[in-house]
Amino acid sequence: MLELEARAEPSRLMAWASPLLAVALMLVGGLAVFAALGKDPVEGFRVFFLNPVKDLYALSELLLKATPLMLCAIGLAIGFRANVWNIGAEGQFMLGAVAATGVALYFGDAESALVLPAMVLAGAAGGAAWAAIPALLRTRFNANEILVSLMLVYVAQLFVSWLVFGPWKDPDGFNFPQTRMFAEAATLPMVIEGTRLHFGFAIALAALVAGYAFINRSHAGFRMRVAGEAADAARYAGFSATRMIWVGLLLGGAAAGLAGMGEVAGPMGQLTDKVGSGYGFAAIIVAFVGRLNAFGILLASLLMALLYIGGEQAQQYLNLPNSISMVFQGMLLFFLLGADVFIHYRLRLRRRGT
């Protein structure tokens, strides 16, 4: 009889092996899905997993997709470490995009080198401001930040729609729900010529390094880790819970806002009502698959980007619905949660009756 038995202490090996195991199981599951849909699994594998990395351009597209995931996930990880559950990065992402768009539209065609830096600041501030609402409600009225931040996503979506259908609609845009295209000075430069990989990628990498330094090296990060591990010890040591809620939410919001800025000032070049494309939610998965640490998040965001692009490829070449990538994301999370059980438990074969 197979039995789960609690380990004396959590296995470090499994903590690292579990994401790899989850990826492997997802691959196997994916092949089965292709077979079940009547596609050649080998061909499916090639299109889904190899096409996104087949040449420089494909790789640049992969990194482009990974950029907002990285940014959102590293910000979220800081709060998650202290048990501050910001689920609304998606909304903060949109508000960052809105604030950056506001700056771009305000400057219009002005050729100033200050436009982009101002947009970066505005994006971070917009995201942080949106995250400040759950922080305020939590610290003042003890309102659950999970619900508040989540509900604010929908408010943010409606706000964006109102802007692009109303005051910010491009007068020459044939009534499409979108703003004017940004001027040259309000668009992020490219990292690699001839691709769409913009400077936001460098910002995201820098954010990962900063996130690593904050979580692992700074006193503030240490306080947050203590609060997440043992709340009583944090209170005993005098680490302010209120401050941690603010820091966790504001940093998460600012990072998501930056990601939103990168989208409008990068590949989109304008604000549309489709700006929120799920990066903020996917980043929650990325943060956990990446074990809430910077290096893990780097790998996990690349993996998640691969799933997105693989899905698009499968739609294009295999005639499968785009939602196939959601199936893969779901499988990944499912297998990860399953494999994580083995961090704390091991499987044992036991004779009946003992």
Partner: protein, 531 residues
């Protein structure tokens, strides 16, 4: 198969072997906690396990109870070889255990916690009545409806014991069950244990209180460095001779000379009143106390009489609405955070060491950062200086003789007494101006307890003000210059320790001190004291 018996014990414990261990070993990466241990426990025997902090006592008990798996060795239960897979398995065999570090669910009530340990799904109402019944019979008062997180450590310990007794075990393992019980509660518990033993229950009993072992236990096994180093009949030994067996040398004594306290007030409670956050907690009412530089003031009392609330108010974990009732080093500190109070020169040893005084999963170096970061210059420009944290943790380990795998060892991997030594060391080595200490020697072995007390006295000799809150009257009389009693949230007058006696303080502990306002006939929240 035949089980080789060691020579029979000469006294009462000659029943059939209930539990036999052969060659039990347990190796951890950094230390061999148990090495080739043999042990026989007979029906109706009360056997003590003696040993210094880190000798491997808890590890051995956890192996018997199925919490930890031995690296090698065999275990026989009532003549049959068993491999205990889990605590649930152990309970089904008839083994019960009271843990040194409590294993209660904080967010659940007492009765819910008890229900979880029992097979099936017992009805909570009936179970609550049984708990009240058992707790009254055994002199361990608890209210089954209260939540665990609101209980003091003394009360939690009562819950652990009651939970275990309700399972009608045939082998009862008690890992330091009395470390925070009052003398009266201990006496009642011993009556219970003797009765259980007479009915045939075997008991494995761990304690650092050697006189307890002498009065209770039939036999004793001595562990040192994970090995069995001897056996004895406690009734035929003195506490000093047992201490020698345990630590291999004479027991050090503390030197406490009378001294003139300084005039500077380092801690003043000026009419402190505070309503407890928890509905079952104790409200503090109009407390007045001065602790001067260069003196040790003790507060005695039965756990659950407001000690917890008082400590939280002094430490800043429960800040007040007003500033003046708590004054630290001349500053009105009632509203300051614990961190700000530390910067005024206060250090604090809390009663729970795992989870409050230390983060279980973090290393000792990280745990040094918990309270010593600013005081010891471990932060520069907002970033941590790990080298300094490690160096400070190493100093705590060296100077307080903490037996562990080094500064990288996780706090939860330390034996209970060693973690206590580390935390006390961390607070004392910050050279505080005011030290507030709850149960400073809880679970610490006799040698280390004497050492910690001496370090507290040394600190006072260097001019630090010390407030000690403890339930151990012997300890308070050994180190304190002045003593007060807390009962039902009120504080008695403070007396010079040499002008009073353990008996007087025992009476005061029920709230009956000269001039105390008490309504005649009102039932006391506490056990009545021995008079």
């Amino acid at each position: 198969m035949p089980i080789p018996y060691p020579p029979l014990q000469p006294d009462t414990a000659a029943g059939p072997a209930r539990l036999v261990l052969q060659g039990i070993s347990k190796a951890y990466p950094t230390v061999v906690a148990n090495h080739d241990i043999g042990l026989v426990v007979r029906a109706g025997e009360i056997r003590a396990i003696l040993g210094e902090n880190g000798a491997g006592k808890s590890t051995l008990m956890k192996i018997i109870y199925g919490v930890t798996r031995p690296s090698s060795g065999r275990m026989f239960w009532e003549g049959e070889e068993v491999a205990v897979a889990s605590p649930a398995h152990a309970r089904s065999l008839g083994i019960g255990m009271v843990f040194q570090h409590f294993s209660l669910f904080e967010t659940l009530t007492v009765v819910e916690n008890v229900a979880l340990a029992l097979p099936g799904k017992p009805a909570l109402d009936a179970l609550a009545r049984r708990i009240v019944e058992v707790s009254e019979r055994y002199g361990l008062p608890v209210d089954p409806r209260r939540h665990i997180h609101a209980l003091s450590v003394g009360e939690r310990q009562r819950v652990e014991i009651i939970r275990c007794l309700l399972q009608d075990p045939r082998l009862l393992i008690m890992d330091e069950p009395t470390s925070v019980l009052t003398p009266q509660a201990v006496r009642k518990l011993f009556e219970t244990l003797r009765r259980l033993a007479d009915e045939g229950c075997s008991i494995l009993y761990i304690s650092h209180k050697l006189d307890e072992i002498r009065t209770l236990c039939h036999t004793a096994t001595v562990l040192r460095g994970g090995k069995v180093t001897g056996e004895c009949i406690p009734a035929q030994e003195t506490p000093a001779s047992m201490a020698r067996l345990m630590i291999g040398k004479e027991l050090p004594r503390c030197e406490h000379d009378a001294r003139q306290a300084g005039s500077e007030v380092r801690l003043r409670l000026a009419g402190l009143s505070h309503a407890a956050d928890d509905p079952f907690g104790t409200d503090l009412r109009d407390l007045h106390l001065d602790v001067h530089a260069g003196e040790i003031v003790g507060i005695a009392g039965v756990s659950g009489n407001g000690q917890q609330e008082l400590l939280r108010v002094i430490s800043g974990e429960a800040p007040l609405a007003e500033k003046f009732p708590v004054q630290i080093c001349g500053v009105e500190a009632g509203r300051l955070s614990p961190g700000r109070r530390r910067r005024l020169g206060m250090a604090f040893v809390p009663e729970e060491r795992l989870g409050r005084g230390a983060v279980p999963t973090m290393s000792l170096a990280d745990n040094a950062l918990l309270t010593a970061a600013h005081n010891q210059g471990m932060v520069a420009a907002g970033f941590l200086r790990f080298g300094r944290a490690r160096a400070f943790a190493r100093r705590c380990i060296d100077e307080f003789d903490v037996r562990c795998g080094g500064t990288a060892a996780a706090a939860k991997a330390l034996s209970g007494g060693n973690l206590q030594k580390f935390i006390v060391g961390r607070e004392i080595l910050q050279a505080p101006r005011l030290l507030v200490c709850a149960q400073p020697t809880w679970g610490v072995d006799v040698g280390a307890a004497a050492f910690i007390r001496q370090r507290i006295i040394d600190l006072r000799n260097r001019g630090c003000a010390v407030l000690v809150i403890s339930e151990e009257l012997d300890e308070l009389f050994e180190i304190c210059d002045r003593i007060a009693v807390i009962a039902k949230g009120r504080l008695s007058p403070v007396r010079a320790a040499r002008d009073t006696s353990i008996e007087d303080i025992g009476v005061w502990m029920s709230g009956l001190w000269p001039g105390a306002e008490h309504t005649a006939g009102a039932p006391l929240a506490t056990e009545t004291p021995h008079a």
